[in-house]
C-alpha cells in the first residue's frame, strides 16, 4: 500500500479508530491490531512475501531467546551467525543473486573461460533491505548484551513489521522501538496533531516536489545523449530534489503516522542539502542507515582508530557497502566509492566533525563562507547522484562528460518549457521553507503555531490544494526498490 494512495487514506483512519476505541484498554490487543494491520499493509502489495517477514521474525525471536539462555560463547556466536545468515541470505538471494551470477559469468568470459550462468526472474520483495537490517540489529544488540531479549513474541513481531516504517524505514533500532511496544500508549493530542502536520509536509515533499522533479529528471536522463551540458546539470539537480523529496517525504509520513499511534521513530533526515561538508551531509542524510552501518560495521571494523591505512580501508568498506545496499548495480558501488573519496580528506585531516551544529545558527542568512561550502557540498553530491540515477556506468560517465562540455554554456533545452520553470519555482520555494525551518524536526513543525486557527487552517488547505493540483504524476517511492 502506498502512503500517497486512497487505499492508505481509508486504511489509516480505520486502524486509528480500532486502535484507540476498540483495543485501547488492552496492550496485547493493541499490539495484535498493529501486527494484523501491518501484515494487511504489506500484503496489499504482495501477500506471498509476508512469509519472509514472518520467517525472519521467528528466527530472530528464537535467536534472541537462545542468546538469553546460552552462556557458552561458541554457541552464542553460532546463534548470532544463524540470524545473520538467514537475514543476509534472504537479502543476498532476492537482491544480489543475479548481480553476482552475471558478474561471475562476465569475469570468466574475460579470463577466456566463458561459462553459462542462468539468471533468475526474481522479484525483489518490497522493504526487504529495511526489515532485515532492523531484525539484525536486534540479534546483534542481544548478542552484545546491550538489550534484554524479549519474551513478548507479539510485541517483537509487531516491532519487526510496524507498518509506518516497514517498507522504507527509518530503520529502527530495537533499543528504541521495541520497548515502546511494552508500554501502554496514551493518546496525546499535541503529538497526534503534530503527526498530522508532518504527514502533510511529507505528502507535499513526495507529491509536489519529488513527483514533479521526477518527470523532469526522467526525461533528461533518458534523453541525455542529445542534451546540452546545462540541461544535464539541471537533470542532476532535479534528481537531487526528487530523491530527497521522495525519501525524506516518506520518512516524514512514517514518523507522523507513528505519532498518531503514540510511537516515536528516529529522525531520518536533517536538512542534508544545507550541509557544509560531506561528513555533515552523511550525518544528515538517511540517518538511520548511516548510524546502522556506523554501529554494526564501521565500529566493529575498528572505526577511525588505528593507522591511516585502517581509516582508509574502513571508510571505503562502509561507503561501498552502503552503496551496494542501495542496489545490485556497479553504479551504486561507484556512488559509494565516490562518497568515500569525498569523505576521506576530511577524516584524514581530522576535520570530519568541524560542522556539528546547524548552519547559520542564530542568523537568518548564511555568511559567505558557509554559502560557498554549502554550494560546494551540494555540487559534489549532485555529481554523485548521477551515478546513483544512471542506468549503468557508461551512461553515468557520458552524462558527466556531457555536463563538462562546452555546451554547458548554452541555455538549457529539454522540451518542458513552462512546466520546468514552474517546477524550479516550486523547488525554490520548498528550499526556502526548509531553510527557515532548518532548526526543527521538519520544516513546518512550528510554522503558524502562534497564528489564529483560521489562518493556520488556511495554510493547511493551501498545502492540500497544492498537493492536489500541482502534484506530479504518481510515481512509486524510489526507496521501495531498495
Amino acid at each position: 500500500m502506498l502512503f500517497n494512495s486512497i487505499d492508505f487514506a481509508i486504511f489509516l483512519p480505520i486502524v486509528f479508530f480500532l486502535y484507540w476505541f476498540v483495543t485501547q484498554k488492552n496492550l496485547k490487543l493493541q499490539n495484535l491490531l498493529l501486527l494484523v494491520a501491518s501484515y494487511v499493509f504489506y500484503g496489499w502489495w504482495d501477500w506471498k512475501f509476508l512469509s519472509l517477514i514472518v520467517f525472519s521474525s521467528f528466527v530472530d525471536y528464537y535467536v534472541g531467546r537462545g542468546l538469553a539462555r546460552e552462556e557458552n560463547q561458541k554457541k552464542r556466536r553460532l546463534l548470532l551467525l544463524t540470524s545473520i545468515l538467514v537475514n543476509l541470505g534472504f537479502l543476498g538471494f532476492f537482491k544480489y543473486y543475479n548481480f553476482f551470477a552475471e558478474n561471475f559469468a562476465e569475469a570468466f568470459t574475460l579470463l577466456g573461460n566463458p561459462i553459462e550462468v542462468s539468471s533468475l526472474n526474481i522479484i525483489l520483495p518490497v522493504g526487504i533491505s529495511f526489515y532485515t537490517f532492523q531484525t539484525l540489529s536486534y540479534s546483534i544488540d542481544v548478542y552484545k548484551q546491550k538489550l534484554e531479549p524479549t519474551k513478548d513474541m507479539l510485541a517483537f513481531f509487531a516491532f519487526v513489521s510496524f507498518f509506518p516504517q516497514l517498507v522504507a524505514g527509518p530503520i529502527e533500532r530495537a533499543t528504541n522501538l521495541l520497548p515502546q511496544f511494552y508500554k501502554k500508549r496514551d493518546f496525546v493530542y499535541s503529538k497526534a496533531v503534530d503527526g498530522l502536520r508532518q504527514i502533510l509536509w511529507g505528502l507535499f515533499k513526495k507529491i509536489v516536489i519529488a513527483d514533479n522533479c521526477a518527470e523532469m529528471a526522467n526525461k533528461i536522463f533518458d534523453g541525455s545523449a542529445d542534451l546540452n551540458g546545462s540541461s544535464l546539470l539541471l537533470g542532476a539537480f532535479f534528481f537531487a530534489f526528487q530523491i530527497y523529496g521522495d525519501f525524506s517525504g516518506y520518512s516524514d509520513i512514517a514518523i507522523g503516522t507513528s505519532r498518531l499511534f503514540g510511537f516515536d521513530l528516529m529522525k531520518n533526515f536533517a536538512f542534508p542539502y544545507f550541509s557544509r561538508d560531506i561528513a555533515e551531509f552523511w550525518r544528515r542524510w538517511h540517518i538511520s542507515l548511516s548510524t546502522w552501518f556506523r554501529d554494526y560495521l564501521y565500529i566493529p571494523l575498528g572505526g577511525s582508530r588505528g593507522g591511516t591505512w585502517m581509516k582508509v580501508r574502513n571508510t571505503f568498506i562502509i561507503f561501498i557497502v552502503s552503496g551496494f545496499w542501495h542496489g545490485a548495480n556497479w553504479t551504486f558501488i561507484v556512488w559509494g566509492a565516490l562518497n568515500a573519496i569525498y569523505f576521506l580528506p576530511l577524516l584524514l585531516l581530522k576535520r570530519n566533525r568541524q560542522n556539528i551544529g546547524d548552519v547559520a545558527e542564530g542568523r537568518l542568512l548564511p555568511n559567505f563562507r558557509e554559502l560557498i561550502s554549502m554550494t560546494t557540498t551540494f555540487l559534489l553530491t549532485l555529481l554523485a547522484w548521477v551515478f546513483f540515477r544512471a542506468e549503468n556506468l557508461g551512461h553515468a560517465l557520458s552524462y558527466i562528460s556531457g555536463i563538462f562540455s562546452t555546451s554547458f554554456f548554452e541555455m538549457p533545452d529539454f522540451g518542458f518549457g513552462m512546466k520546468a520553470i514552474l517546477v524550479l519555482l516550486m523547488t525554490s520555494a520548498f528550499v526556502l521553507f526548509e531553510w527557515l525551518g532548518r532548526h526543527n524536526e521538519y520544516a513546518i513543525e512550528k510554522l503558524g503555531l502562534t497564528w489564529k486557527r483560521p489562518l493556520r487552517h488556511a495554510m493547511y488547505y493551501g498545502l492540500i490544494l497544492i498537493i492536489l493540483f500541482l502534484g506530479g504524476s504518481q510515481q512509486e517511492f524510489i526507496y521501495f526498490q531498495f
Partner: protein, 307 residues
C-alpha cells in the same frame, strides 16, 4: 485534550475542505467547456455535448483521430459527424464518452464508427487518458462509476480541472490534434519503423486481451444494439513491419469479426480491404497522415457493406 476533540476537530477540518471541494467542482462543472488539446479534437467534443443531435459518432483512439475527415464523412454519408477519439484512450474512456453522449443527447445517433486494432484490448498501449477527466467534469452522472477507474482517474481529473482553471485566466490554449499531421509525401514511405520503441510496449510482441477492456467493448456493442444504432468497426492501415510483429493478431481479429450484425472493415494486411499502397499514406507505423483520402475510401466501403 482527549481523542474525542481530536476527531471532532479533524472531521470539522475535513468537512469544510470537502464542502469547498464540492463547491469548486460544481463551479467548474457549471461553466465547463471542452478545450482544444493536442490529444483530441476539443471542438468536436464541445459540438457533440452541446448540440446533442449528432448523426455519426466516431469513437476510438489515436488511430481514429488520424484516419477520419469530418467534411468527407458528412458529404459521403449524409450524417453530421464528430470525431470523439483521443490519443492513448482505452475502451473504458471510449465507452464512457459514448454512454455520456447517449445519456445527454436529444436524438440518438444513426451510426457509430469505431476504430479497433491489434492493441485495442491492451492495457499498456491504451490507458485511462486525459479526456477521461473532462468527461467526468462535464457529466456528473458519470460519478457513480468513478470508483471503478480509481486510481488512474485521479491524474486526468486533476489535469482537466487545472485546464478549466487556466482557461478562465486566459492561459494560452493548446493546438488541437490536427497539428499532429505532417507535411510528407503520399507517394513514398518516408518514416522509419522503430523496433526498440515497439518492444518497449510489446516486449513479447503480444497485445493480449484484457478481460475488463473486453467487457467494455461488449458494453459498447450492447449500447448500440439497445439503442438501435448502427455500429461499424474498422481497422485502419498499418505498415507491414508493424503488422508482421503482431503475434496474436488473429485472436483479436476473431473478436471483431464475430460481433453479430456488425460490419467489420479491415484495412490492415490480411484484411478484406487491404491495399499495399496505403502504407504510403502513413506518418508512422500505424497512424495515417491522409485522413481525407482514407475517409473517401472508408465511406465508399461502408456504403457498399451496408447495402
Amino acid at each position: 485534550m482527549k481523542i474525542g476533540s481530536f476527531i471532532k476537530r479533524s472531521l470539522k477540518f475535513l468537512g469544510l475542505f470537502m464542502i469547498l471541494a464540492i463547491l469548486s467542482l460544481s463551479l467548474i462543472s457549471a461553466s465547463f467547456e471542452f478545450l482544444p488539446h493536442s490529444k483530441y479534437y476539443g471542438q468536436d467534443y464541445e459540438k457533440a455535448f452541446n448540440n446533442k443531435d449528432i448523426g455519426l459518432l466516431a469513437i476510438g483512439n489515436s488511430k481514429l483521430l488520424a484516419s477520419l475527415d469530418n467534411t468527407t464523412l458528412q458529404r459521403e454519408l449524409g450524417l453530421e459527424p464528430v470525431n470523439l477519439g483521443s490519443i492513448f484512450s482505452n475502451l473504458s474512456v471510449t465507452r464512457l464518452t459514448f454512454e455520456s453522449y447517449l445519456k445527454n443527447c436529444k436524438v440518438m445517433p444513426k451510426m457509430v464508427l469505431m476504430e479497433v486494432s491489434w492493441f485495442t484490448f491492451n492495457p499498456v498501449r491504451t490507458q485511462f487518458n486525459e479526456i477521461g477527466g473532462d468527461l467526468f467534469l462535464n457529466d456528473y452522472k458519470l460519478w457513480s462509476e468513478a470508483i471503478n477507474y480509481y486510481p488512474e482517474i485521479i491524474d486526468p481529473l486533476r489535469k482537466a480541472f487545472m485546464r478549466q482553471v487556466y482557461s478562465k485566466v486566459n492561459y494560452p490554449q493548446q493546438i488541437d490534434y490536427s497539428s499532429e499531421f505532417k507535411n510528407m509525401s503520399r507517394f513514398e514511405k518516408t518514416y522509419d519503423f522503430m523496433l526498440a520503441e515497439f518492444e518497449e510496449v510489446f516486449p513479447d510482441h503480444i497485445a493480449g486481451i484484457d478481460p475488463e477492456l473486453l467487457a467494455e467493448f461488449e458494453r459498447i456493442v450492447a449500447l448500440c444494439k439497445d439503442n438501435n444504432i448502427k455500429l461499424v468497426l474498422y481497422t485502419g492501415p498499418e505498415v507491414s513491419e508493424y503488422r508482421s510483429l503482431q503475434t496474436d493478431i488473429e485472436d483479436i481479429k476473431t473478436i471483431f469479426r464475430n460481433v453479430p450484425n456488425v460490419p467489420y472493415l479491415d484495412y490492415s494486411e490480411g484484411g478484406e480491404f487491404f491495399k499495399k499502397d496505403y502504407e504510403l499514406w502513413m506518418k508512422d507505423s500505424h497512424h495515417l497522415n491522409e485522413p481525407v483520402l482514407f475517409s473517401e475510401i472508408l465511406t465508399k466501403d461502408i456504403k457498399s457493406k451496408l447495402e
